[in-house]
Amino acid sequence: MNNSELHYCGYENSTSNRNHYGLWINTDNTIIENNTLTNNYVGTIIWYSHNNTIRNNTATDNHEGFWLEGSSNNTLTGNNATNAWYGFTLSYSSYNNLTGNTVTNPYMWGTGCFGFYMQYGTYNNLTGNTVTNHTYLAFYLIYSHYNNLTGNNATNNDYDNFNLYDSWYNTLTGNTATNNTGEGFFLVNSSYNTLTSNIATNNGGPPIYIKAGFHLMSYSDHNTLSGNTAINNTQYNFVYDGLNNNLAGSVSANFLRVKALAFGGGAVQGAQVKVQVDGNTIYDSIGFGGSNPPTDQNGLTEWIVVPYKTYVSGTTAVENITNVTVSYGGLYIDNNPRIVNMSTSHTETFIVDNVPPTVTITTPSNDTQVNTGVIYINGTFNGTGSQILSISINDPRFTLVEPSSSPYGITGTYSFKASNIESSEFDVQVKVRDQSGLETTATRHVIVEQPLSLTDILKSLTAILLLLTSNSQSGFSLLIYVAAGVAACAGVAAGVLFYYFRLRRV
């Protein structure tokens, strides 16, 4: 049957051989390809038959898509089952190859629905199959042994994804379980299975039950998990309560995103980021010689998968040390580099100090007179995002007396002192520089006016008298000249007055 359609075939019935279920194949070597199968109870059921090929068929709105019962060496490739309770069923079937099949958006009936359901199956190969969109159990093996599941993908499903119940000696390699509500890889009463290089990411939902990326539960013993990665699974990445399980080489990881913010607010785009785990660089942008992108317009890097714990033997894990470094134009970045705790996925924020510091002069006030010979220039500073490394003044007569040593902290007060400053006027400029190298200056006009004491007055008079008595010119003392001058002026004034009054009488 090829390039054709089959509709409304079969119905639910209690017949033991299920031949009322739909297109019922009880022979070998059939080829069913490129067909559309809709509204059947089962799209196709292979009943104790072998070497059949079912290829590139689309089964939609059937109760079950494809069913193999007691059948072996059949090949199902590139088929799609949409809106079915069971996408693909293998029951008492062995040595079948299911490759590149998909199950999408199945019905949720009763307790659930299944993508690939296998019971009492052995030596089957499921390779590159996909189950997506709200399947209850994506890949479900019960009482099934020695099967290989390789490169299968379960995404956006409503419950558990790779489930082994009472199933032994199965090999799961390179499968991925992503964004599912339940468990990623869930083994119950299942032992001696080998899980290698599988990835479980973002699985887990509300914590009603324990949910994990990899969960070995109740009597799941002697399983070997190597090279598996569990990333950001809601409750746990790895949980195990069985015996003699070996997780060596598996990694529990979480997501890290670096965010660069300006101290003054706003995202910092273009900040260079380097992430190292145990000394090994796993992310470095161009500023660090790598090729990973720097922060974007929102100040964010992409999500980076960072190992948190690595299992070294058995179920013993060591915690990795994650070191993150950020740089941006030589500006100071707070707490950088830093060791980041990766026990949970999170965004690590770095504050870039791109704001110049502030400085004030509180005393003396501007243009006010300072009446002392010891002058203090006092004020405050704020590094605005980083510490102040330098506080200086432009007048060498002043020395910094507070604070004592650099760095001076982010905020604080300072005090410069100068002694024996004579009366004068001058400008002082106080400059502060922060860890980003940004500087700010405050200026103050200072007037120094010494007050006159009695001693100073007497000293001044004495000095004048000495000046008057000691200085001489052409044999006459200055005092005689002053006296003669005064007498001459008085005589002239008397003569003028006498003449004036005589004229009025006339």
Binding site: G10, N19, W24, T27
Partner: protein, 187 residues
Amino acid sequence: MTITIKVIFIRKSISNSIKSSQKIGNKERMGNYMKQTVRIRKTSKKAILLTAVLLTTMITIAAVTATQNQKQNINPLIYQTILLGTNPPTNQPILAKADETWNDTIISTTNTTINKEIILNGNLTIADGGILTLTNVTLRVNCTTNGEHRIEVQNNGTLYINGSSIITALDPSYSFLFWVQSGSTFR
């Protein structure tokens, strides 16, 4: 024949009106046009009445003829009442055309069916040695209960379905069965 004559008459009237309006002045043209219009309207009423009578007669004759043909099995054109969709409107049956109806059919030789719509009113059995090829065939299985009829490929029977064939139920409410038995060939 009556309708044809009347139509010709109407067309001639209009044509004469146009021809006469081309020969005379505008005022006279308008007067003649109005006269012709009245005449045509009177004639149109008669034509419509006659047309209705004629159509009724033709439909009656066609229905009687079809019924007779079906009884005499002269014309294989078959109409079956089916319900399309899972919840069809009640009392609105839809006729599905079929080129053939098959009752219980056993294929024991080589048979090729191409480009046909078939209604299966019984079981279709490809028996030992039988080879049936369905190419671009729509086969509707007419069940009145679930599993009433089946398609069965028996041991040493061969069934090929291809070329955009559609195998479905005539009434989606009742599913059919499809068995490909051991020792048969199905492709």
